[in-house]
């Protein structure tokens, strides 16, 4: 059976991880490569690096990081943040990235999805969607949940799929940071509407939240950051718990 995937997400700025990390056995918690290696040893199925660098040097910095990760890590990984054109994606692919994730660039220029899928294949293109409830509707937001768009979440996801997204990374900004669980209602709705894999994000606070999201929404993967970085949930423990609930894991 295809295993449900557990995906730690690392925020990276100027080539260094920025969210707090308290693994006791890390010599340098700011080194994304060492952190990634640690996660791969723990049994993470995949990694996402979210680049929040805002300098002109960003592509060069990111390419160096991607190469360093690809040299050392034997599981797949995705790069998100600041990918605005084919050339960005091409540089990351050639450095060893398995997938790229695009968010606001796709909202502003939806044809970018078509271009990336045509150039590199749908399997390379994750469309990340940040969503928030406004007036009882799920609306696509930009800028980390601060800027609402005109787009309704499900409609935008279906458009992204038809344009060539190979996977959807759906983050509920209402749940993100609350540790109150994933938005299982919206995730179920989306997962039942698309024929491509869905990654749940936003709200993970306990092992039970992962059990719930896989049992209720049947999404393909779940992503989290701080619960892993702070050691609140250890991946081997999480996998054991999922297995005990008859959820297929690696």
């Amino acid at each position: 059976m295809l295993a449900k995937r557990i995906i730690p997400c690392l925020d990276v700025k100027n080539g260094r991880t920025v969210k707090g990390v308290n693994f006791v056995d890390l010599r340098d918690a700011g080194d994304p490569v060492e952190l990634a290696w640690n996660y791969s040893q723990q049994g993470a199925d995949e990694l996402v690096f979210l680049d929040i660098t805002a300098t002109v040097e960003r592509r060069k910095t990111m390419v160096e990081l991607v190469k360093a990760v690809a040299r050392q890590i034997n599981i797949p990984f995705t790069i998100g943040g600041g990918i605005n054109e084919i050339a960005d994606a091409d540089a990351l692919l050639n450095a060893g990235a398995d997938k790229i994730s695009i968010n606001s660039a796709a909202v502003r220029n939806p044809a970018l999805i078509d271009e990336l899928a045509k150039a590199f294949g749908v399997q390379f293109v994750i469309v990340a969607v940040d969503t928030r409830v406004m007036d009882d509707k799920n609306i696509v937001y930009l800028n980390g949940g601060r800027l609402p768009t005109e787009k309704q979440t499900l409609e935008w996801i279906l458009e992204a799929e038809s344009r060539g997204a190979g996977e959807i990374l759906l983050t509920s900004m209402d749940h993100d940071g609350t540790k109150s669980g994933f938005d299982n209602g919206l995730l179920t709705l989306v997962n039942n509407a698309v024929n491509i894999p869905v990654i749940a994000s936003g709200g993970a606070g306990s092992v039970q939240h992962f059990v719930d999201v896989f049992q209720q929404s049947e999404v393909d993967a779940a992503l989290a950051a701080s619960v892993f970085h702070y050691g609140e949930i250890l991946i081997p423990d999480l996998k054991s718990a999922l297995k005990a609930h008859q959820i297929e894991v690696r």
Binding site: Q72, I75, P76, G96, F120, Q123, D220
Partner: protein, 217 residues
């Protein structure tokens, strides 16, 4: 993990054991090979690049890499002029992902004729909201035949897949199988030719075991 032996790709031949097996990676302009060469370097498996017919003589086994569109990949391979040489190879040759699909007779992706080393077809998954396409993630692989490629890899081990097209199951050529929507060929084998649909360079320890096994076949 901290030793920074700069594996800089391209044409470097890190001859760690000059008398040991050397893998020639067949280059035809499809896909990136950074992750593959990085894995070979982690495993101390010497490798180099095959661009021309004479390059084949430098190596005692070959990998055909590939990602993306199978029809487009076949076009690029034909443009290299290496097709007759590849079809006549007698040394161990491993196709990975689209590189494996190139070994089949035909692909539904682009309605394209392939190398026809294996008389089996590459077909598109019929996806739905339960079985998503691309088939993305870690799935279990079961050997159908005894072969050193899977030495020290237990039945049912997980490998990393990401593909929308699959090679049909065939009891003659399927070396290992995986089930997703339907049972398909996770790997194929005929004489010196092998293909794997998953990405061994991204499949954790068992993927690395498989690459090491191939270097010793």
């Amino acid at each position: 993990m901290t030793d920074n032996n700069q594996p800089d790709t391209a044409t470097a031949l890190p001859g760690i054991s000059p008398d040991g097996p050397r893998i020639g990676i067949i280059r035809y302009g499809a896909g990136n090979i950074f992750s593959l060469t990085a894995a070979l370097e982690r495993l101390n498996i010497p490798y180099g690049m095959v661009y021309t017919e004479t390059d084949f003589e430098k190596f005692d086994r070959y990998i055909i890499p590939g990602v993306g569109h199978a029809g487009a990949a076949m076009n690029k391979l034909e443009q290299t002029g290496l097709v007759p040489k590849i079809k006549a190879l007698k040394k161990p040759t491993l196709g990975i992902c689209v590189g494996m699909q190139l070994l089949t007779s035909w692909s539904e992706e682009g309605d394209a004729d392939m190398l026809n080393i294996f008389p089996v077809k590459t077909l598109k998954f019929a996806g739905n909201t339960t079985f998503k396409v691309p088939h993305t993630g870690w799935n279990q692989v079961y050997q159908e035949k005894e072969n050193p490629l899977f030495k020290n890899i237990p039945a049912g081990s997980h490998f990393y897949f990401v593909h929308s097209y699959f090679i049909e199951y065939d009891h003659l050529y399927t070396l290992s199988s995986t089930s997703y929507i339907n049972k398909f060929s996770a790997s194929i084998w005929l004489d010196n030719f092998y293909g794997v649909q998953f990405h061994p360079e991204k499949s954790g320890v068992y993927g690395e075991t498989l690459l090491t096994n191939f270097s010793k076949i």
